[in-house]
Symmetry: D3
């Protein structure tokens, strides 16, 4: 598996662990059901999804906003997720590179290692398209 599949598989597995029902969350060694995300956690995940829906701004722009925020906060998984969402919303490479520019200038050279991994993920994600 490449990085693209690894990322998607782990994200799905752990979201299921956090948000799933009793069966999906598994059991502790003593047989008791493992607790999962609280009502607050579940609502936050729901709200997170709702944030990027089409509105006054199209979903594509919102995903680019999510991408630049993830880059300056330097979270590789969040960057990978939003690059994938940007592609699915129709963002071109030229649009993504200009989004990278804003992240680089606002966030500085500390963003560079995350840019490298983001570009590698972008190349792999384009191969799945």
């Amino acid at each position: 598996m490449g990085r693209y599949e690894d990322f998607q598989a782990y994200r799905t597995k752990m979201n299921c662990r956090i948000l799933g029902d009793d069966t999906q969350r598994g059991h502790h060694p003593d047989g008791s059901a493992r607790p999962g995300g609280t009502l607050v956690t579940r609502r936050f995940f729901g709200l997170d999804g709702k944030t990027y829906e089409d509105g006054a701004l199209p979903a594509k722009t919102k995903e680019m906003l999510g991408l630049v925020a993830s880059m300056v906060l330097r979270c590789d998984d969040c960057i990978a997720y939003h690059i994938d969402q940007c592609i699915q919303a129709g963002a071109t490479d030229a649009e993504l590179w200009e989004t990278f520019d804003v992240a680089l200038i606002v966030g500085g050279s500390i963003v560079i290692p995350h840019l490298r991994r983001g570009v590698e993920f972008l190349d792999e994600a384009r191969l799945k398209g």
Copy 2:
């Protein structure tokens, strides 16, 4: 002076101190000229301006990217600057509030005090329009 004029006046004064010529930078008590920004600093300021020019993405979108990055990194002056630039590039209130949404969800409740000051600045900036 309201916060809008304070912000613009201080920004202009200090950019002049950092990027200006010998006359603009003033003198030390001993009469020697105060040094200002190095070549690296000057080039960085130039590059910063260039980042938000129209390209594959319009300036308005780039300014919203700059705004969301500033909000999650929680810099009030940067937020004020990009709100002002968004307005000048034609962003509507509805577009700005959806940009605030992404910042709030990605960055969490720690963004809220900056959102309050950003909204106050937005209201004042609209009065100047």
Copy 3:
């Protein structure tokens, strides 16, 4: 007004601006109603309040968790807010100072200026008690 009243008054005014109804949000110069927080923003504020209610952990502990998170992320308004909430939930000074310890050790000397302002706020808040 001292810092305690300033903080509370500004917070109330701007929350009203963001979450209030049409009358509370005021109007643009052209007479049109100012938009306020979107549905996402409003739900996030609601969820934020819900997070600190009594549960498996008492509200007091949750407010101390909110305080330490605010200190290491270095947001003065959030620190003031959670100190006030900790006091209302019955936290003692000794408990607050040990919370400050964790923030200082995890977050480092960069937390110190925020600790100074937090202690000043604490002293003022105790005077209102």
Copy 4:
């Protein structure tokens, strides 16, 4: 080895490299002893341990404070360490999930990838109990 053992083994090895005596720190290729942590570094490590001892707040609460601080600052190793310490201090799953809530709401969606890895670590740590 699972992630739990990897984490503990690496932490022990490197703490020994930083804080150990001449024998434990090893040698440079030229046979000279490798320097380790300075007096400042050693005292900081000592102070760090002292911070979480029982006081006005019980160790369990302090470890939850350390956990929430680590989550909003997004350090996976620190999260793993404090989850382990919380468990040893008797924290229940319900208490840990409410600690996760505060981290998620204060720190935003950027915390989610760290929550996923934290939950995975928690499940593995419970299996060792």
Copy 5:
């Protein structure tokens, strides 16, 4: 009072509140002595001072290290403190501007508002010299 005196006066007052003895810390409205910093807090402040003493690196270099760290973490008070310490350790303007360069490039444009306030503080501090 200018910003330089304000900064020094507030820092002295609050350090006295945190680290001082019973008399210096004042009293609660009910006449009981206000608690101050715990042993952990006091030791941390002591260790912080010790970190910048001459060693393998001269104090001047260490203060520049403290300055660049404060700039990329964007703490105005910490920046002011280390600029003052750099001046007292003999740093030239040229050395300080190259330190600013590193902060600007590593930390990005989000550092700019802090650079503006740092330069203003530097100019005022030079007037006291």
Copy 6:
């Protein structure tokens, strides 16, 4: 390959992908050339290199400034890069450990896991010298 070679090889490969010419950047599945870094990105990388050249401060000091900034911002790749540059500029172990001290005190215990990995990298880099 050890971590030292892995780091250097990945950095070289991705910088080539971002800054290289058409041949070096490769092609999309449809045969079209992959875009690379924009003019802003390329200039930023150039400016980044220029920042650490000898000036009023020697390159060695600037690299230590870059190192402490990278440590408090907690970027492992940036830490590895600047440790390597410090070594090539002649920094001694004693100087590096005092740089670590400043990072640890300013940034707090959240820096510790990055210190562990930095020390491991330092030991490996010294073996190449």
